[in-house]
Subunit: 187 residues, 2 copies
């Protein structure tokens, strides 16, 4: 797996214009990223950079505190999200994401180290929004910026609810195992 510096702009390849129009449509899609109109979504994508990432490239690395912060909207291809921290020996796959999915939005909005690694499992075309790009969007087009942030916040909220559900399951599991342990040590 090769490392690529984040935010390094490469010239748009053939077909990226059409892909970017798809990006705007995804951003504007109801339920996906709510509340953005298609013209506003086009404003947002004009602050994004296309980036073609070769298969098997880790473009976000868990624990990385040096990158300047960016998120990627997947336009084509596939990204595997993994974390090494659970087992400490081999990475655990958290999710596999395809076109229309957003990765790295947590690192975009805060300045903490990356919480998971993202690796392409196929050649992948992304639309990248850096923290600098987001700041410029908010300064120049605050209305589209506000709606994008509302959408990102809604996605974060959804993930938070998801995690809360998992935590509850774990809490129940731990309780059940505790009872089983108590039972098996008593017998």
């Amino acid at each position: 797996m090769a490392d690529t510096p984040p935010g390094s702009a490469n010239p748009p390849a053939a077909g990226t214009n059409a892909a970017f129009e798809r990006a705007a449509e995804w951003l504007a899609a109801p339920g996906a990223l709510v509340d953005l109109t298609l013209p506003e979504a086009r404003i947002v994508t004009s602050y994004m950079t296309p980036r073609l990432i070769a298969a098997d490239t880790t473009f976000i690395r868990e624990g990385d505190a040096t990158d300047e912060g960016f998120m990627a909207l997947i336009l084509d291809g596939e990204v595997v999200v993994e974390s090494i921290t659970v087992s400490r020996t081999q990475p655990v796959t958290i999710s596999v994401l395809g076109p229309g999915s957003l990765v790295g939005e947590v690192g975009l909005v805060d300045k903490e180290p990356r919480s998971a690694s993202c690796t392409t499992s196929a050649d992948t075309l992304c639309a990248i929004l850096t923290r600098q790009g987001l700041a410029a969007l908010i300064a120049n087009e605050p209305s589209a910026g506000a709606k994008l942030m509302l959408s990102i916040a809604a996605r974060l909220a959804e993930r938070l609810r998801d995690n809360a559900r998992k935590l509850r399951l774990y809490a129940k599991l731990a309780k059940a195992m505790q009872q089983e342990l108590e039972y098996s040590t008593r017998t």
Copy 2:
């Protein structure tokens, strides 16, 4: 514990003006809610409603899907955040929050049922921002709105990282208990 309908505006009591100025200062405080200047924070608070909530009032109820969505900035007093879903019999305290803390921001940005209950443990003064208020803020003052959303997203990201840490701990705990169980059933 009494229920109070969310978003019901009551007339500002004496001292709320000073409290609201404190609200603006909290919103503008670096590290707390980033990037908002004090004038912008004052714009945000002008879209909020003061609300004095008596002690022992549950003003956000877990599972509630009927409320229109609001968040509360605690100005004075104390709020206990609880969830019943873990044990199914009695509520588990998730956190105890004081002045400067934000509650209900998840329910503000999405339309899902409330994930926890919030109950005042003392008379509590809050600044309430409803979903309607947020929409008006974004429409009329998009720049302040965008920065507020960026701040809320950063708080959600922080909570997401917190939960991810807890999930990892649970995963390790479950693994350790599993090993202990295997060991104790073998002997």
